[in-house]
C-alpha cells in the first residue's frame, strides 16, 4: 500500500514537471491556429498564421533568413566534418603529450561560455580586418562545430581493432586504400553523427552569429531575425506558426531517432541473451 502511494506520488511529480515543461510549447502550437498574438480565439480556428509565412510583407526577409541558416549550416558542417574526421585520425596517431594538448584545446570551444567565444572571434576578425559577412560567420561556425565532430569520431577510432587496418596492409592494400576501404567505414557512424551534430549546432546558434554578423551586412539567420523582429514588437501570428513547425520537426526527429536507438539496443541485448 505504502509502495503504491509512493509510486503514485513519483509518477504525479514526473507528470507535473512534464506539463510545466511542455505547456509553453503546447499552448503556442494550439494558438498558432488562432491568428492572434495574445492567445485568444476571437477569429476562430484558422490557418491564416500559416498562410502568412508565405504572404506576409515580412516573408521575403524571413525566407532569406531561413536560406542563410541552411546555407551557413550546410557549408560549415560539411567543412567541419571533413576537417574533423581527418583531424581525428591525425590526433589518434599523435604522441601522447601532444595529443593531450590538442584534445584539451579542442575541448575549449565546448566548455567556453558562448559569449566569450563570440567576442573573442569578433576581436580577432576586427584586428585582422576579415571582410564582414558570410566568411566571418562560416569560420566562426566551423570553429565551434568541429570539436563536436572530433569528439564523436575519436571514440570510434579508440574502439577500432588496429589489427584490421594492419591486416589490410599485409594483404597488399596501400595505406590510402586501407584507410578509405577499412578505416573510414569503421569510423563512419562517428563521422555521420558528428556531421548531424555540427549541422544542428550551427542551425541552433544565436549568440555567435548575432555578434559576428556585422550590423551593416544585413545578413540574418533565422535566430537573429527572430531576435531583431520579436524583441521590439512581440510575436506576430506567423511566428507562432513557424515555431510550431520547428517544434514538431525537432521533437519528432529527436524522439524518433532515440526511440529507434533504445529499441534497437534492447533487441540486441535480447539477442545476446
Amino acid at each position: 500500500m505504502v509502495k503504491k502511494i509512493k509510486s503514485f506520488f513519483e509518477k504525479f511529480y514526473l507528470l507535473v514537471i512534464l506539463v510545466i515543461l511542455y505547456a509553453p510549447i503546447v499552448l503556442l502550437i494550439i494558438y498558432s491556429f488562432s491568428n492572434s498574438s495574445n492567445f485568444n480565439f476571437d477569429q476562430g480556428f484558422t490557418f491564416e498564421a500559416y498562410k502568412a509565412i508565405f504572404t506576409s510583407d515580412k516573408s521575403p526577409e524571413l525566407w532569406k533568413a531561413i536560406g542563410n541558416t541552411f546555407l551557413i549550416a550546410t557549408v560549415s558542417s560539411v567543412v567541419a566534418t571533413i576537417m574533423g574526421a581527418f583531424a581525428s585520425i591525425g590526433i589518434f596517431n599523435l604522441g601522447r603529450r601532444t595529443r593531450r594538448i590538442v584534445e584539451n584545446v579542442n575541448q575549449f570551444p565546448i566548455i567556453n561560455s558562448e559569449i566569450v567565444m563570440a567576442v573573442s572571434l569578433m576581436i580577432f576578425f576586427v584586428t585582422f580586418a576579415f571582410p564582414e559577412g558570410y566568411l566571418r560567420l562560416i569560420i566562426a561556425h566551423i570553429a565551434f562545430c568541429t570539436p563536436y565532430v572530433v569528439l564523436s569520431v575519436l571514440p570510434k577510432l579508440e574502439s577500432m581493432d588496429p589489427n584490421i587496418y594492419e591486416a589490410a596492409l599485409d594483404l597488399g592494400a596501400n595505406p590510402l586504400k586501407a584507410m578509405t576501404k577499412v578505416m573510414v567505414p569503421i569510423i563512419a557512424p562517428g563521422i555521420f553523427s558528428g556531421f548531424i551534430m555540427a549541422f544542428l549546432m550551427s542551425m541552433d546558434d544565436f549568440i555567435i552569429t548575432q555578434i559576428n554578423k556585422g550590423a551593416a551586412t544585413g545578413i540574418n539567420t533565422l535566430s537573429t531575425y527572430i531576435y531583431s523582429d520579436a524583441r521590439v514588437q512581440g510575436l506576430e501570428p506567423f511566428w507562432y506558426a513557424i515555431f510550431s513547425i520547428i517544434f514538431i520537426i525537432i521533437l519528432a526527429t529527436v524522439l524518433g531517432t532515440n526511440v529507434y536507438k533504445v529499441s534497437k539496443g534492447k533487441k540486441k541485448a535480447k539477442e545476446a541473451k
Binding site: 514537471i17 561560455s113 580577432f124 569560420i139 544542428l200
Partner: protein, 266 residues
C-alpha cells in the same frame, strides 16, 4: 613514385591533424590571446591598467556581476531541487531512458524560441515581467542540462550498493543519503556546472523576460563591445573565463571522465 608517396603517408598519419591544429591555433587560441591583450590596451592601443580600474571600481558593473551570480545560484539551486527527483525516479524505472528523454527534448529547440514562447504566455496571463519571470525562464531553459548528467550518473550506479546498505539494516532515507547521494556527486557537479556557467553568461534571455529591466553579465559583455569599449569588455570576458576554468577544474577533480557525460549529451 606514387608508391613512395603513400609509404610516407603511412609513416606520418599524424599529418592529418596539422590543418586542424593550425585552425585551432588561428581561430580558438589567438582570439583568446587577443582578449588578454586587449584587456591591457586603451583605446589608442597603449599599454595600460586603466581598464581593470574602470571595471573593478564601477558600481554598475559590479552590481551586474553580483546580480548574475545571484541569478546563477538561484537558478542552479532550483534546477537541482527540481531535476534531481526527476533523474532519480527515471533511473529506477525500466523505461526510464525514454521517459528522461522527454525532459531533455526541449533542449533541442532554440533557446530564443522557447524564451519568446514563455514571454508571450506571461504577457497573455498578465504576469508582470521582472525578476520572477527571468528566474522562471532560466530554470525552464536550463533544467534539461541538469537532468541529463544526473540521470547518466544515477542510472550507472550499481544497484547492489543500495541493496547491500539495506541488507545491513539501513532504512530507506539512510540508504539514499549514505549511498545513492554520495555516489551521484559527479553528476551533481557536472549538472551544476552545465547550468551555472551558461546562466551567468546568458545573453538576451534576461533582457527579453524582463523587458530590458534586468541585465546580466553576458549582456554587459556584449554591450561593452557594441559601444567599442574593448578594454573593459575584455576584462569582463576574462572574469567569465576565470569562472569557466575554475568550474571545469572542480568538475574534473570530481569526475575523472567528465567527457563521458558530455559525450552522452548527444
Amino acid at each position: 613514385m606514387a608508391k613512395i608517396k603513400f609509404k610516407k603517408l603511412r609513416l606520418t598519419k599524424k599529418v592529418f591533424s596539422i590543418p586542424y591544429i593550425l585552425f585551432l591555433l588561428l581561430f580558438v587560441v589567438i582570439p583568446l590571446v587577443l582578449i588578454l591583450v586587449n584587456a591591457f590596451l586603451d583605446s589608442d592601443n597603449n599599454l595600460t591598467l586603466e581598464n581593470f580600474k574602470v571595471f573593478f571600481t564601477s558600481r554598475a558593473n559590479l552590481i551586474v556581476l553580483g546580480n548574475s551570480l545571484l541569478v546563477g545560484i538561484i537558478t542552479t539551486a532550483f534546477c537541482l531541487l527540481i531535476g534531481y527527483p526527476v533523474a532519480y525516479i527515471c533511473s529506477k524505472m525500466s523505461s526510464g531512458k525514454i521517459i528522461v528523454l522527454l525532459y531533455i527534448l526541449p533542449m533541442f529547440v532554440n533557446f530564443l524560441i522557447r524564451t519568446l514562447a514563455t514571454k508571450a504566455i506571461f504577457i497573455a496571463m498578465g504576469v508582470e515581467l521582472g525578476m520572477g519571470t527571468v528566474l522562471f525562464g532560466m530554470v525552464y531553459n536550463y533544467l534539461p542540462f541538469m537532468i541529463l548528467p544526473l540521470h547518466t550518473t544515477l542510472s550507472s550506479i550499481d544497484k547492489s550498493y543500495s541493496e547491500a546498505a539495506q541488507d545491513l539494516g539501513a532504512n530507506k532515507a539512510t540508504v539514499f543519503l549514505k549511498t545513492t547521494l554520495p555516489l551521484s556527486t559527479s553528476g551533481i557537479i557536472s549538472g551544476i556546472t552545465m547550468v551555472f556557467i551558461p546562466t551567468i553568461s546568458t545573453y538576451a534571455i534576461s533582457q527579453l523576460l524582463s523587458n530590458g529591466k534586468i541585465f546580466l553579465f553576458g549582456d554587459s559583455i556584449q554591450l561593452s563591445f557594441e559601444q567599442g569599449l574593448y578594454g573593459v569588455g575584455s576584462i569582463m570576458s576574462l572574469v567569465m573565463l576565470a569562472f569557466v576554468l575554475i568550474s571545469n577544474l572542480i568538475m574534473n577533480a570530481f569526475n575523472s571522465n567528465s567527457n563521458a557525460v558530455r559525450r552522452s549529451l548527444w
